[in-house]
Amino acid sequence: MNLPAKINTIQAINQALDDAMAADVNVIVLGEDVGDREEGGIVGVTRGLSSKYGDARVRSTPISEQAIIGAAIGAAIVGMRPVAEIMLMNFTTVAMDMIVNHAAKLRFMSGGQTHVPMVIRTMTGAGFGTGGQHADYLEAWFAHTAGIKVVAPSSPADAYGLMLSAIEDDDPVLFIENMPTYWTPGPAPERGVKIPLGKASILREGTDVTLISYSRRVLDCCAVAEKLAAEGISAEVIDLRTISPLDTETFLASVAKTGRAVIVHEAVKPFGVGAEIASLIYESLYGQLKGPVQRVGSNYAPVPFSKPLEDAHVPSLEQIEVAVRATFK
């Protein structure tokens, strides 16, 4: 079956899960409300799967995040490929033991005798007025943990191709979906085509400055690059796609060319992924840089509820632009 020319991220991930389940009986889906009896997920990402593949393989769970991840780990150790949904990224906090102490470490601690080929799908992002406990970007915590991969797509097509790879991957993968852009349509992916984990994509080529981002804020970087082009500033935009493992090679090559770098993410700036990338750039390219590396992230505070505060909390196009100009100083 061919896809329509444009689809959104909900449809893209649904299609990826469907294709993966059709291809491999070991792929199972579990999480709160994921079954069709419960409407196939609160935004419908898993809709239709339990009707098609049965309640044994698509399981709505109790509201028990430790038990969800624990069940996925146990099943994965003995060869299944579970896709566990933790509804919102903030809810990973109640399953941190399972994710960090177990999923990420069992391959190492067992000396390679067992491994945990599972995917944890989770959504997040500010913009819907969900306040302090439903919109955080916590990817740095997981990227800081050896043994788990972290993926954060910025488009429907990438979400599809990266999800296929994540399910096929033999290590645990945390797959971050941005909620406010779930419904944004984009060009449809080619069915069955995987996007490798750990490979960034250069969305726009440029010569003066490199913008490095992932997830939703890639869209902002593209918008700023477009605007600056009118003034004669040529910005290269790199979508990391995967945060861990990090495609250091691609962004270092780009910054070696442009001599300037800005890292943009929705997570708060201090101690974030941007700090790691900035360090890697300085370690490799010190002396070749034409200006200081800049970081743009959310305000160092919980995500606020009130609309004007929420809008001011996350990175703005203006902040990204100011950061770009700062690299020219």
């Binding site: 991840i69 102490n101 391959r107 067992s110 000396g111 390679g112 043994g147």
Partner: protein
């Protein structure tokens, strides 16, 4: 009880496991004292009956998830001693190439799937092992071992509820030794018996004398049969006592005077040995021969460990992900 009193062969098999645990534990402590090995060691001495009786109901293909105090569970399940000892010694020849250590032994060949150092975490993962078996229509069962203290952790409640809702082939075996680290059971736990908690999750819950091999075997037999028949999980609370405190070197100052001595006076290993001989199920000679053979096996495991190399430093970069990383 639907199960019948076990026959002599099963009972001697339980004793074989028990004495194997006791003899290994004695050697581990002796070797630690000598300084030849250094590790955090959580002695299971006094708790030999529980996994020995449970394992008499299990096959190699059945899975267990155990905890830092789990060497008895592994030995009862049949883990090879050389590999076990070498892992405890941090040697390249250990089950996990020395990368797991005493708190993280894995040996899939004998169904030892996960050993965790996090209180309560054996249960959610045992569910997953059981879930895979259920989806695939396999007959194997999973056992989660844990302590009394672990029944106060959220993971226990989440796991029991999920196992019951999904009728998973899992047996939750709580080894209630009366203490969680230095805290007495009654000062931390709101129920008289942990088995009561099974009622909240609509599964059978039974409290047994965990130092009585026959009672523990019968409880395990019923729970394992139930799980194998697809009837769902059970909770077994086996009451027992640990003879050597929480961790090697424990001063026991938090215990009542005489409490430990009273339990040690009822040491389940010699008690069961005498009972087997008295009832004619085994002879003194037979058991002495069996114990001597285990002693030789342990001699060999210690030798093997002390003569084994430490892991290559390249192991630092292996088994983190499937592909080697060197960030």
């Amino acid at each position: 009880m639907t199960a019948a009193i076990p026959d002599g062969e099963i009972l001697v098999g339980i004793y074989r496991r028990m004495t194997r645990i006791k003899q290994n534990d004695e050697r581990f402590r002796a070797v630690l004292k000598s300084g030849k090995l250094v590790m955090p060691y959580y002695s299971p001495r006094g708790q030999e009956v529980i996994p020995s009786a449970v394992s008499a109901c299990l096959d190699d293909e059945d899975y267990i998830c155990t905890i830092y105090r789990g060497v008895h569970d592994m030995i009862a399940k049949g883990i090879p001693l050389n590999d076990l000892w070498a892992e405890f010694g941090g040697r390249a020849t250990g089950t996990c190439k020395g990368k797991g250590g005493p708190m993280h032994v894995t040996h899939p060949g004998t169904g030892v799937m996960v050993t965790t150092g996090i209180v309560g975490s054996s249960m959610p993962i045992a569910n997953g092992l059981a879930l895979a078996a259920q989806i695939r229509g396999e007959k194997r069962v999973s056992v989660a071992y844990f302590g009394d203290g672990a029944s106060n952790i959220g993971a226990f409640h989440e796991a029991l509820n999920m196992a019951s809702v999904w009728k998973l082939p899992v047996i939750f075996v709580c080894q209630n030794n009366g203490y969680g680290e230095h805290t007495k059971y009654a000062n931390s736990t709101a129920v008289a018996n942990i088995a009561q908690r099974a009622a909240s999750y609509s599964m059978p819950g039974i409290t047994v004398d965990g130092n009585d091999p026959v009672a523990t075997y019968l409880a395990a037999r019923e729970a394992v049969d139930r799980a194998r028949q697809g009837l769902g999980p059970s909770l077994i609370e086996a009451k027992t006592f640990r003879f050597h405190g929480h961790v090697f070197g424990d001063a026991d100052a938090y215990m009542d005077k005489g409490e430990k001595d009273a339990w040690m006076a009822k040491d389940p290993v010699p008690l069961f040995r005498n009972w087997l001989i008295k009832t004619g199920l085994a002879s003194e000679d037979q058991l002495a021969t069996l114990e001597a053979a285990i002693e030789l096996e342990i001699d060999e495991a210690v030798e093997f460990t002390l003569n084994s190399p430490y892991p290559d430093l390249a192991e630092l970069h292996r088994d983190i992900y499937k592909d080697e990383v060197n960030v």
